[in-house]
Symmetry: C2
Subunit: 497 residues, 2 copies
Amino acid sequence: MAKKQKTFRPKARVPRGFHDRLGSALTAERDMLARISAVYEAHGFDALETPAFEYTDALGKFLPDVDRPNAGVFSLTDDDEQWMSLRYDLTAPLARFVAENYDGLPKPFRRYQVGPVWRNEKPGPGRFRQFTQCDADTVGAPAPHADAEMCALFADVMEAAGIARGDYIIRLNDRRLLAGLMEIAGLAGVATEDEAQRMTVLRALDKLDRLGEDGVKLLLGPGRKDASGDFTEGAGLDAGQIDRVISFVTATAQTNAQTCARLREFFGPSETGLAGVQTLDEMTMQLAALGYKEDRIRIDLSIIRGLEYYTGPVFEADLTFEAKDDKGRPVRFGSVGGGGRYDGLVKRFKGVEVPAVGISVGVSRLLAALALKDNTAKVAAGPVVVLALEKDQMAAYQQMAAELRAAGLRAEVYLGGSNFAKQLKYADKRGAPLAIIQGEDERAKGEITIKDLVLGAALSKNIQDNKQWREGQPAQFTVKRAALVEAVKQTLPRKSQ
Amino acid sequence: MAKKQKTFRPKARVPRGFHDRLGSALTAERDMLARISAVYEAHGFDALETPAFEYTDALGKFLPDVDRPNAGVFSLTDDDEQWMSLRYDLTAPLARFVAENYDGLPKPFRRYQVGPVWRNEKPGPGRFRQFTQCDADTVGAPAPHADAEMCALFADVMEAAGIARGDYIIRLNDRRLLAGLMEIAGLAGVATEDEAQRMTVLRALDKLDRLGEDGVKLLLGPGRKDASGDFTEGAGLDAGQIDRVISFVTATAQTNAQTCARLREFFGPSETGLAGVQTLDEMTMQLAALGYKEDRIRIDLSIIRGLEYYTGPVFEADLTFEAKDDKGRPVRFGSVGGGGRYDGLVKRFKGVEVPAVGISVGVSRLLAALALKDNTAKVAAGPVVVLALEKDQMAAYQQMAAELRAAGLRAEVYLGGSNFAKQLKYADKRGAPLAIIQGEDERAKGEITIKDLVLGAALSKNIQDNKQWREGQPAQFTVKRAALVEAVKQTLPRKSQ
């Protein structure tokens, strides 16, 4: 007790590359994920939660390099000397879970999982080392039905998240079409350099949206110099090969049936390609019968997703509306999620292929898009603040807050000093829409004053309109104590107008 | 490609001390936490999410021992050589967050946080190294108002979780009463052995509920031998001291006002004790004015919680109903959460005291209690399964599932082989309440068959009542296709009877 020591004072700081989230930044995500989860549930998917840790070998990484045990993932050794890593996605834990519980699970096994994942990467602006993923997968069911269901689910998820029909599109392609294309274009060699060339071709096709046909042709051939003068090496295809590849990509037609017809013609002799066309045809016909037509789900031959991983249909959810950023510039969001069929899920553990198909929602991109689209969401989300002006009236103030809560509103009593201006400043800082005021005078008359803080802020910004505003909607008014809840309810809806 | 290697096959296993949760085991927790969060929100608390990692020094641990870097917490070094640890509770991150953002936060600052925490401890039965915590804290507001509010919030949280009024009690004590008791009993010495003796006294008092007055007297005096013959060293108090301590604990009266009156008499000269009584008196009077009376919030002088930490009022939420375990034996749950006032929250970072008060809900204990209390929750929670008997009718089956979902029900189509028995077995394994069957015959007649799987299971268990059941409620029946949704809705409610 009498020991005198220099006190160590750690600096309070969030770890590098991580961030805290408070209030609406967090609840907007939580509420969206709850709506998406409800869609997954309705479709028969069961919620799964796996722990943050997996054994490192189960993640597909072997024992970490002793010098760099945290390359890509966060790893540590348990006290029994086994390496554990924080999961970097939700698919690797699913693979481990399915392999571990294979015999006991119903098959097909449908599960969804929502939760944080961790990446041990160099942090960048807006790129964090912990973020939320939201996946749904069907394990043990073959194409095309499980894949069609996944596309319908994806569309339902977009609408549940708050994206109106017409503002998104689920684009659909098949891994086997691209493999067939390589055969037809004479790019199916098995040497390492052939594989590299195929990847260059696919990267080129992935840019069709951005560079247009001419730009892609350069990337397929000799290479392309961009506006800044940087040169990108091309795939070195000859003119005939380029024509074939381009004629594939431009085979995307207005209707899915037309696209399939064109593809059948295009693939003529390629069995791999035709298998892909057959699946897409069956999927889109089944989807159309359920009402999911080209306005929601369209074959798009320029969709390229993680090709080393997928084995059949691939999907991408794209936002198609234009929003404006806070400087008024148009923003296009593009992809807010993707997925596809992959049959190697549990092969690492069990040595056998199990068919699987899944989607992953791009949570933070989707939220960012919704925030820009829906400016009305930016209303004051704070609680109604009941000021505490007389110390011996705390129970009366708490009673007011309790009545407001009972009516379904957020409400709290200020708990600090009795300074009036400080209390109002607090209410502002809290994003409170209203403050409830009952001083000695009001109390004597059995009244309360309701101060509209949002309107008050608007008033102070628009001095020229002050008189007009005041006449129409005063920023504060007085009502009988018994009318508290009714008066607050009538005042609140103004916010969202 | 032609490389031949012995394939490494990792064993699929969840890491030691961790567990997976699937379906209702997970959604029951999620739904309860959503209801509790809504109460926190309504009271003006804002959601906070901090990352899984904190710098180790911010957790109150200094650089980990190089030989045991993971003692108690999971730790690793970042690539800039800083030690990071996974949080072991939600209070340490709150302290770091408040210290880091102090000037920008409204004060008082009310926040709640729900999320996983990690403990690097020896796993045991039902004790996991990752579990969920659910906390609410008010930072920057002094007693008694913030403390009274926290008690009211605690009661509201219990009811939102699903505990009926009368089945729980919020017990209330004050750290300063116990400090005052030590003064009065002549146990206020500052030597290390005095501190140890005080802890022994407090541990003895903590057992009043279990051992009764006589058992506690032994623990306060010479020591106590339990039924198994194990001897617990006593605190070595003399008869007069024991009397004083016991007269304190038994001062708990029927009403909070009576308890406060008795305590005032008891503490006569002890300023520390009287300060505690004054706070409890003000809190309980304010709570009573708001309708929170002794049936919900009671002063209980035997409540002892983490004394090295709390500085004022302490609370504990106890369940008071008796439930039966699955062998019919009575189970008492006791504490399902606690909290109190602690003023040292950010002192480690900023060197100044900031008043704070908070509660923490014991999520897994509360869930376990609810599960035992509410057996009706154990209805079939799986989706309605539409069997897929004819491969070319998949769109028709999906249409049935879509109609059921549009009516707010969980529904899915079986996606596997066409074997009828296998499909029914799948539906059972999924916990499906109903299966929808449309084979060729039914389709020709424009009908569907609804098979009640829960009733079917009951029938097969009660052969003797078979005839009677069959006559009253058949386990399957046929309706027109157009009546699908209506018939399913009418059949489902049976489950919860």
